[in-house]
Amino acid sequence: MMAAVLEISGLTMDFGGLRALESLDFTVHSREIVALIGPNGAGKTTFFNCITGIYAPTGGDIHLVSPQRGRERINGLKPNRITEKGMARTFQNIRLFSNMTVLENVMIGRHCRSRVGILGAVFRNSATRAEEQEVVDSSFAILEKMGLAHFANDYARNLPYGAQRLLEIGRALATDPFLLLLDEPAAGMNPQETRELDERIVRIRDEEGVAILLIEHDMRLVMSLAERIVVMDSGRKLADGVPVEIRNNPEVIRAYLGDMDA
């Protein structure tokens, strides 16, 4: 068993009287591809928003285990601090910076790994220029990896839909994460694009050595991609296991298809 990179215990999230997440426990291990599935409204995106700091969870513990800095509790930290610590994400409804170029979008991801301040920007000394070129080069390398290099100078809003999804992944990768969260990366893609995405995600894991946690509704993609599947329903964890187990789990089938006896 590989070491854990994300440990969650008893995670609870209330919105007023509504309990969106109830005492969730689970772990993502280093270099693992885990799929988070569940019917609509199960709390998957809420879960993502909680662990990335967009919402402050009501209860429970979230620990990130960084290869460099070790185990840290990240409850209630700001999203940018969590990204700095090495967990990056994409969004279900694409949130690119649409009036920036494709390259600039990725360069924003490098922001937290670069240091130039106001004075450096104004005087543009050699250190600034070197860092700027490093940002451009590494961002461009990511675009090449994502197969988006030929779009580098286009506005993000002009990209085809599938390419926009890839750009979001590239932008997240630019922050040098060790854990990558993908919120429905295949939404709106055609079967061909989905197959390519499947290969690309595996390649990202292999080449970058990141662990990947993804929310996905396309079951074919989930079954072929995920090494482990976590099923959620009504804010609770229903099942956790390898794809074969999940496929034959009666509770999971009931959650998806409804109670046959009722």
Binding site: A88, V116, Q133, Y155
Partner: protein
């Protein structure tokens, strides 16, 4: 009116223009047609004015309608206009840059010597607004934070010179950085409470902030001398050289030219840097921006502080130029004008802001010939502008980066 012109027949355009003309006649009837003569106690009906307004607006609307129809019908960009050709050539021909810039520089340099000191004064004012526009452009154009109280920072700069000079006898050159720094501090002070606000809410709070500053200056007599203001503020010195009024007008003009160049330089560098990108990302999508590791708080505060910095600096210059300030110079109307400069120029475009400041400040001056219709014409110019170029005079350009050589062929227009 803008979008509707393209798909219409001539008859429709005619009808549309007619209704516009009638509407204008109706609107201007009370001010342009009726005149009450209180001496003889009669009402004078100036029907000829009505005819002029009617015919004028009818033909203008007609011309506008036909123009829009033509533009809509012609296939775009197949035959670029003469101006577009020139602009493209100008961008692509570095050899042209030198002479054009040299001509501009020469004109700027000799301006005070060929025009009267009145003209120089107006130009200095316009340059002050260029800097104000560039400063607000950081906050509104780049970071996307709608600030309606920007003039408050201008007031902070002006009053810091006036008061520091009055009480401690500090000179212009000492206060210039102090005023700018104080304004930046006020920018951060305003920034903290509004960190969570966006859009309309932010606009309202900043509007309130601007008014608070003005009201404090107006009512705290012991501190700011109230509505009567502060007089006898010294003009900027030059190593103790005695200057005539005209010489010091010219001196201020050159000072402003220098400051404008400095501002353009700094703002341009900021815009094309790591922090400039962060501002634009913040404008585009706040949540994604944070999720990509950008510290929202620091980025917003930097925008407020750096925007306010320039306002404070030209505030000091304003106080030195007019030698008298009172709170009436820092009303909401000023904020609105500066904001119009940014919007008219094109959000985030430096050249656009410079041109817009010139147009918006110089136009009312030269429209003085039209006396009472000055503001009316000013409004009309703004409306026409927004109809024909809603994105502003100059669109901010897409920045291209030097990519690794092996894939230099790889971009698509």
């Amino acid at each position: 009116m803008a979008g509707s012109g393209s798909g219409k027949s001539h008859g429709e355009i005619l009808r549309h223009s007619l209704s516009i003309a009638l509407w204008f006649v109706f609107l201007t009837f009370p001010i342009l047609v009726i005149r009450i003569n209180p001496v003889e106690q009669i009402i004078v009906w100036r029907w000829h004015n009505m005819a002029m307004v009617g015919l004028g607006s009818f033909f203008l609307a007609l011309a506008g309608g036909i123009y829009l129809k033509k533009r809509g019908a012609a296939p775009p960009s197949l035959v670029p206009g003469r101006f577009a050709v020139f602009r493209k050539r100008f961008y692509e021909e570095p050899l042209l840059h030198g002479p054009v810039l040299a001509l501009c520089a020469l004109f700027v340099f000799v301006f005070p010597h060929i025009f009267s000191s009145y003209q120089t004064n107006i130009m200095t004012t316009a340059l002050i607004y260029v800097v104000l526009g560039l400063g607000l452009n950081i906050v509104v154009g780049l970071a996307g934070l709608l600030d309606l109280g920007y003039v408050a920072f201008y007031a902070v700069g002006a009053y810091s010179y006036a008061l520091l000079n009055h009480h401690f006898g500090l000179g212009f050159w000492t206060v210039l950085p102090v005023g700018a720094g104080l304004a930046a501090v006020f920018g951060i002070l305003l920034g903290f409470p509004v960190l969570r606000l966006r859009g309309d809410y932010l606009a309202i709070v900043t509007l309130g902030f601007g008014e608070i500053i003005r009201l404090i200056l107006e009512n705290w007599n012991d501190f700011s001398f109230g509505p009567s203001g502060i007089a006898n503020i010294p003009r900027p010195g030059l190593f103790g050289v005695e200057m005539s009024l005209e010489a010091s007008t010219n001196y201020l003009y050159y000072l402003m030219i220098g400051l404008v160049l400095g501002t353009i330089f700094v703002v341009n560098r900021l815009q094309n840097s790591r922090i400039g990108r962060a501002w634009i990302a913040l404008r585009e999508d706040e949540i994604a921006c944070q999720a990509m590791g950008i510290d929202k708080t620091a980025t917003k505060l930097a925008a407020f502080a750096l925007g306010a910095f320039w306002a404070g600096m030209v505030g000091v210059i304003f106080a030195a130029k007019t030698t008298f300030i009172n709170p009436a110079s820092f009303t909401f109307l000023e904020s609105a004008i500066i904001l119009s400069i940014v919007v008219l120029g094109g959000m985030g475009s430096i050249v656009g802001v410079v041109i817009a400041a010139m147009v918006l400040i110089l136009l009312p001056e030269y429209l003085r010939a039209f006396a009472e219709f000055r503001m009316l014409l000013f409004g009309a110019v703004l409306v026409v502008m927004m109809v024909f170029r809603p994105q502003g005079l100059i669109r901010s350009t897409k920045r291209r980066y030097r990519l690794p050589v092996k894939t230099a062929h790889g971009h698509r227009g």
